[in-house]
């Protein structure tokens, strides 16, 4: 065990020493990204988000070691490499949600859409001095990041709603950069419930190369019967999941808010701890768009999806449907 720890530590040192050799980060955002992989840290992270009128707070413990990370809350998440992701629900066994074999393409350059500026000074977060990085889109400030002045590790991230109030925030309540613990090891018995595989060539009409507001497709995956198209605008990511079926109200995850989506269809929108999502149904397909983007961007993007040709049920399927209707009272 001791040997293993020493070996890992040596590896970390090597990584740390090797880091400056990597091409100079293009922007403050890239510096923060790089720092979250390079800087060993232990901390307690508070995640806050708005849901209707209520603010939720979840306190997580976080450890980062050389590109690997363990986040412990109600669920436990592991990033084992720059690619592989494991997740355990509650205290249950580990599922491999994202294997290292699938990697999205490069993200678009964020500077086409956002202005990323360093603002002089920053608050003290978890006892550490910060510098402020502001991400604006035109006149709208989308978010502010507070990076550790010494390492560029992100210590706080505040996202703003349309009225300028903070709608989501992530901030270290305490953090230690004197890492001495081992890097996480892959649990011996990770399961692969629905491992996604990359899809190439002809994909669904509902996975165009581009969506409104600068979202470009960076990958399409299939997992079980669900097609997953991942989009990015360089800062935020947006997934569109497509599956066959008709949506019933009872299938929706909660009351939600109705919104107009593509083709004048009504969808239902919900906040989740990392962003916003929309569920809707069109022509025998169920669509779920999940994003960490601001809600207005998610809706713009979703409304730009192409319409599907109308469903034409066959005579047989009409008969089957009629039979089902007949049987329903007997069920």
């Amino acid at each position: 065990m001791r040997v293993a720890v020493t070996a890992t530590f040596t590896l970390l040192l090597t990584t740390a020493v090797a880091a400056p050799a990597v091409a100079a980060p293009a922007s403050a955002l890239d510096q923060a990204r790089q720092a979250s992989e390079d800087t060993p840290f232990d901390g307690v992270l508070d995640v806050r988000w708005q849901d209707g009128g209520a603010t939720h707070l979840e306190r997580l413990t976080v450890q980062g070691r050389g590109g690997a990370m363990v986040i412990q809350g109600g669920n436990q998440v592991m990033a084992l490499s720059p690619f592989e992701r494991l997740l355990a629900h509650g205290g249950q066994s580990w599922d491999e949600l994202w294997p290292s074999s699938v990697t999205p393409g490069p993200r678009p350059d964020a500077s086409a859409k956002y202005q990323v500026t360093e603002v002089a000074g920053g608050p003290v977060v978890a006892g550490r001095t910060t510098k402020t990085v502001r991400i604006s889109q035109g006149a709208t400030v989308r978010e502010q990041l507070y990076l550790d002045a010494a390492t560029s590790l992100m210590l706080e991230r505040d996202e703003y709603g349309e009225d300028g109030s903070v709608v989501r925030a992530m901030a270290f309540e305490s953090v230690s950069l004197d890492a001495s613990m081992a890097a996480p090891a892959k649990p011996p018995s990770a399961e692969h419930p629905a491992t996604p595989v990359a899809v190439r060539g002809q994909v669904s009409a509902l996975a165009p190369l581009e969506l409104a507001d600068g979202y470009r497709r960076v990958g399409v995956y299939r997992s079980g019967g669900i097609l997953h198209a991942l989009y990015s605008d360089g800062v935020y990511d947006l997934s569109v999941f497509e599956q066959a079926g008709r949506l019933r109200h009872s299938d929706l995850p909660g009351p939600g808010d109705p919104v107009a989506v593509a083709g004048g269809t009504t969808g239902w929108t919900y906040p989740w701890p990392g962003g916003q999502l929309v569920v809707w149904s069109t022509e025998g397909r169920i669509l779920t768009a999940v994003s960490d983007a601001p809600a207005d961007q998610l809706l713009l993007a979703v409304r730009s999806l192409p319409p599907l040709p109308p469903e034409r049920p066959s005579l047989l399927s009409k008969l089957k449907r009629a039979c089902r209707t007949l049987m329903e009272p007997l069920a």
Binding site: G73, W98, M170, H249, P253, T266, Y270, V279
Partner: protein, 158 residues
């Protein structure tokens, strides 16, 4: 306790209490003179004051009911049927489907399982989709802020 005042020569007739004039008062449907008389009566009549509060509460509840969204695709279906003239003759889409089934059931039983069926109802496993999004989006992006939300089990208030 104050004795309710006589209301005998009021604009509401000979009753002791205001009755449905209370709803008229709430809805602004009383003439000014009736309003004044009703308000004067309420001052001395706890029974009517209590009834006013109760029906006012029921009124508020119904007024606070949210709009109801039609089921997905309901109007689109109705418009398709309507353009074909299908709902201009006979019972509704829903009931017609039932009647058709009565006639067709015997024949249909023999052909079930053949042809392309209409999609069945399916539940999107929204919490799992959220996890799939966050894990895929965290690859090559800011690991901490993309991945941390997945450590919070997703629930949508149900």
């Amino acid at each position: 306790m104050t004795e309710p005042r006589r209301f005998g020569d009021s604009p509401f007739g000979g009753g002791m209490h205001l009755g449905d004039a209370l709803s008229g008062l709430l809805d602004g449907e009383l003439a000014p003179s009736q309003q004044d008389a009703a308000r004067a009566h309420l001052v001395g009549c706890p029974t009517c004051a209590e009834e006013l509060r109760a029906v006012g509460q029921a009124r508020d509840w119904v007024r606070a009911l949210p709009p109801v969204e039609p089921p997905f695709g309901f109007y689109e279906r109705a418009m398709r049927e309507g353009r074909r003239g299908a709902f201009a003759t006979g019972p509704s889409l829903r009931r017609r489907a039932g009647l058709a089934a009565l006639g067709a059931a015997a024949a249909a039983v023999t052909v079930l399982g053949v042809g392309s069926p209409r999609p069945n109802p399916a539940s999107p496993a929204v919490p799992r989709l959220v996890e799939a999004h966050a894990t895929s989006a965290s690859v090559g992006a800011d690991l901490l802020s993309k991945l941390a939300p997945v450590a919070v089990p997703v629930s949508f208030g149900r």
